[in-house]
């Protein structure tokens, strides 16, 4: 992969403020993502995690503060956009759409091909390679709704990989995916990371993410803390972010389950059964 022309800091947010009308969503957010990082953004629902990545992706514009992606403003990325692989929440896709897995992955190449042209040999190779990288090449001719949740997840990643990106940005990628598929998914991410792809991922699943990410940023309007997983879980940081009603079960150095106190008892007894 050609990462030579990119600066070491891929994403830089400095004192970013964002609000929808009178509703403040982000306040004074400062964050950096360097080449080779696996940074997880965690926080409760409505904490502004998704808004934050939409700002990085240039889909939303902050009222204050600066955002630089590859050293440029998100709106001025132009051809550098293809260096970003974006994996949206899977509920944004209509899986009844009349398209097969291969063609779906190919749509990731379309912005590079330009209007009035058909995909060429290089594009077809890229689509096959992307399917191969996530191990779903045999499913290429299946309609996208006829594959499992875990396979859909891989298909979305394949589309994001099709332009050989430098960074993968994933929004809640393990929603509606079973535990086994979720483990496969993290193994895949680690494999991609070992090839030098930087990863920025939004998740609400503190426990699992902490096992894989090398840095975690806890968001609840602000970046509450930003550091290595074992630093994050100490000193009541999670309580600060999720509020006092949350309960945490510690498994080694990282908390495993985050639930409200009302459900804590059930979750805990289930956890004991599994153990």
């Amino acid at each position: 992969m050609n990462t030579a022309i990119l600066p070491r800091t891929l994403i830089e947010m400095d004192k970013v403020y964002f609000s929808y009308g009178h509703l403040d969503v982000l306040e004074n957010v400062t964050l950096t993502v360097n080449q080779g990082d696996f940074l997880a953004l965690i926080g409760p629902n409505g904490s502004g995690k998704t808004t934050l990545i939409k700002i990085i992706l240039g889909l939303l514009f902050p009222q204050q503060g600066t955002v630089l992606v590859f050293g440029k403003k998100p709106s001025q990325l132009n051809s550098l956009r293809s260096r970003i692989g974006y994996v949206p929440q899977n509920n944004t896709i209509d899986f009844h759409f009349p398209i097969n897995v291969y063609d779906f992955v190919m749509t990731g190449r379309y912005p590079l091909i330009g209007p009035g042209r058909r995909p060429g040999r290089k594009d077809k190779e890229a689509a096959h390679n992307a399917l191969e990288q996530v191990n779903i090449e045999p499913l290429g001719s299946m309609q996208i709704g006829k594959i499992s949740g875990g396979q859909r997840q891989k298909m979305l990643i394949a589309r994001a990989l099709v332009n050989d990106p430098s960074i993968l940005i994933l929004d809640e990628p393990t929603t509606a995916v079973d535990v086994q598929s979720s483990e496969n998914f993290y193994e895949l991410l680690m494999k991609l990371r070992s090839r030098g792809i930087t990863i920025l991922m939004v998740s609400h699943d503190v426990g699992v993410v902490a096992q894989y990410a090398d840095r975690i940023a806890c968001i609840n309007k602000q970046v509450i803390i930003h550091g290595r997983p074992e630093e994050i879980v100490s000193a009541g940081n999670l309580e600060k972010m999720y509020g006092r009603e949350a309960a945490f079960f510690h498994h080694g150095v990282v908390p495993h389950i985050v639930v409200s106190r009302d459900h804590a008892h059930d979750a805990f007894s289930q956890g004991n059964k599994q153990d």
């Binding site: 889909l59 990325l77 051809s79 970003i84 974006y86 009349p98 749509t107 912005p111």
Partner: protein, 265 residues
Amino acid sequence: MEILQYAFMQRALLAGVITGAICSVIGVYIVLKRLSFMGAGISHSAFGGVTLGYILGVDPIITAVLFCVFSALGISMISRKKIVQEDAAIGIFYSASMGFGVFLIGFLRGYNVDFFGYLFGNILSVTTKDLLYMSIVLGIVIFFIFYYYKEFLCLVLDDESSAVAGMPVVFLNHLLIGLAALTIVVSLRVVGIILVSALIVIPAAAARYVTENFKTLLGLSTLIGVSSCLIGLLLSYFLDTPSGATIVLTATGIFGISWLLGKKS
């Protein structure tokens, strides 16, 4: 066939083929993008344009195009800026333009204007000039659907990821809605303001039951749109029923058959 000897019938058949094709092609994108109600909203806005055309003494098709494009872009803009929700925006534009049209009719007393034809369609009254407009729009629609084939596919499949990847999705969305507005206006002669959205939505919705391939969907939707117009037109001739209504009911019948076929497979 004896009916083919009449010039008005030849024009009607040609009009049926053209409007059936353009409505059902645009319909694929409208249905997949879940803009079916937008189609109805745009077509109803045409009414204000048609009556204004008569008042000003200009070709009502021109004023109807202006009204439809204005409404379509207005709906899309105010809902994107979150001033109101999209369904509410459609409701406002559509009823305001209908209201405006009915208000203006009051000033047209003594004129012999076939408003019933505009509302419900009268394919037998299609003129050579109407056919010319239809052919121009057919050419425009075909050009953009081919030229932006990949881009429109991305727009309806996943506009957010496409925007991230650098697709000009706002432009494509406006273009799609603009093409829908043109299609609707030239189809008014055939099925009318009230029924034109049926000709946009039904063929694509019917074709979706029997295919999982996008290109096949485009082809099949066109086939259903064109055959609904032709079969409906012939039925209305032989049964002496209103043409627009018969065409829409024919399309609905094909939809039912397609639904049954899709359920079986």
